[in-house]
Amino acid sequence: MEIKVLGSGCAKCAKTADLIQEVINETGSDATLEKVTDMMKIASYGVFGTPSVIIDNEVKCTGKVPKKKEIKAWFAQ
């Protein structure tokens, strides 16, 4: 599983990445987490708000910090 957190590096984006990392650690998943801060790349995903979470090229969440429960649900899919 390939997870990308899109964001310019604001506090919310950092928090989103931390939460996802936590879930990866807890579940022992082999998912990779990457932070995308380049504006051009962020725009190419077609999202409006940051932070946004992309899992395997699918937009899961945009413009807010997801709840841990939501993140776990994505992992379970």
Binding site: S8, K12, M39, G46, F48
Partner: protein, 355 residues
């Protein structure tokens, strides 16, 4: 308020016991809020003059009373306003706003964009993706700017604080003039036809909007959304509120009456442009600046001057310009700052003249 503990999944159980319970807790919380709010003057006097035994009528006493009255008052109002606006915002998303604005004609589009700027969830760190999303979807440049000016300037924190500290009239003036500047400045930028001053990679790129399934929100989700907004916003601004009120309290107690009249009063013509010049590079949010503004007004500063100062601090900030520089060429950024600053100057002079 125990709203946070309402689990998100009870919505599936229908109108059962937990929903009734959360309703009762909600009503009780509003009732308690109302009574504590009206008891605040008594509490602040007791803390200042009995608990801390300051002399009534002294500089220190006046400062302490101001601080212990305004801090809880502002916090309580912020709580209510942020929660309420959070619920309203759960009905809007940037995606929906874009769909409404794309292809709108210029003038009506500017008005709509300024209004939607108030209620669409927006954080200045996502200004760039939002800008790209709007412009590439055919929202006119000027209309996009109306949104980008209104969203940070006319916000729930500013309105809640102004209402609490300076009354509904000043809050309404701020709302009205803020919208006016967003509409007028966006319209002017649109008329100037500066589309070729958007960075080339934005104009030449093809950015298809991502497909996202729209989740249907229940009332429970909206309450959780509002509560999250309270936690997020109050968690971020409380320190500014306290610092702002502390500075305001110092001004209130120790600065002599009327001293501001000569610097920030109506008679001094240069005070409005100077306020804007000082305000632009200052980076603070509404929460920190409004308590200071209240104290300045009390010492004879003119409303128009203070309004201009407040708007330039909140609406034009250097960090946001740095972010926007990634998509706008310098001339467009300069035009943006110039046009908004002119709007603020106009509002400042107007209010100094009529009030």
């Amino acid at each position: 308020m125990k709203l946070q503990s309402v689990p998100a999944d009870i919505q599936d159980e229908g109108p059962g016991f937990p929903r009734v319970l959360s309703g009762i807790i909600g009503v009780a919380a509003v009732y308690a809020w109302w009574h504590v709010y009206h008891f605040l003057p008594t509490i602040s006097k007791w803390i200042s003059y009995t608990l801390l035994s300051a002399k009534p009528g002294s500089h220190l006493g006046a400062s302490l009373e101001f601080f212990f009255y305004d801090t809880p008052k502002v916090m309580m109002l912020l709580f209510l306003v942020v929660f309420g606006v959070g619920i309203i915002r759960s009905f809007f998303t940037p995606e929906k706003t874009r769909a409404v604005l794309s292809g709108k004609s210029e003038f009506a589009g500017n008005i709509l964009a300024a209004l939607l700027g108030i209620v669409t969830p927006f954080c200045s760190c996502s200004a760039v993706p939002l800008f790209i999303g709007f412009v590439t979807a055919g929202v006119p440049l000027g209309v996009t700017f109306s949104f980008l000016i209104s969203a940070p300037m006319v916000n729930e924190i500013a309105l809640g604080l102004l209402y609490g500290l300076l009354g509904w009239k000043v809050a309404a003036i701020y709302l009205g003039t803020g919208l006016f500047i967003a509409i007028a400045a966006g319209w002017v930028i649109g008329r100037l036809h500066l589309e070729n001053h958007i960075e080339d990679w934005v104009r030449e790129g093809h950015f298809a909007a991502a497909e996202m399934e729209e989740k249907k929100l229940t009332w429970n989700d909206r309450i959780v959304y509002g509560w999250d907004a309270v936690k997020e916003i109050i968690g971020r601004v409380w320190i500014y509120v306290i610092l702002g009120i502390a500075v305001g309290a110092g001004i209130h107690g120790f600065v002599p009456q009327g001293v501001m009249a000569s610097i920030m009063g109506k008679g001094t013509w240069w005070s409005v442009p100077l306020s804007v010049l000082i305000g632009v590079p200052m980076y603070s949010n509404a929460a920190g600046i409004i308590p200071i503004v209240e104290a300045l007004l009390g010492k004879g500063a003119a409303l128009g001057t203070v309004l201009a100062f407040m708007m330039s601090v909140i609406a034009l900030s250097l960090p946001e310009m740095v972010i926007l520089r990634k998509v706008l060429k310098p001339r467009l950024i300069a035009t943006f700052i110039g046009v908004v600053a002119c709007g603020i100057l106009f509002v400042g002079y107007l209010f100094n003249m009529i009030i």
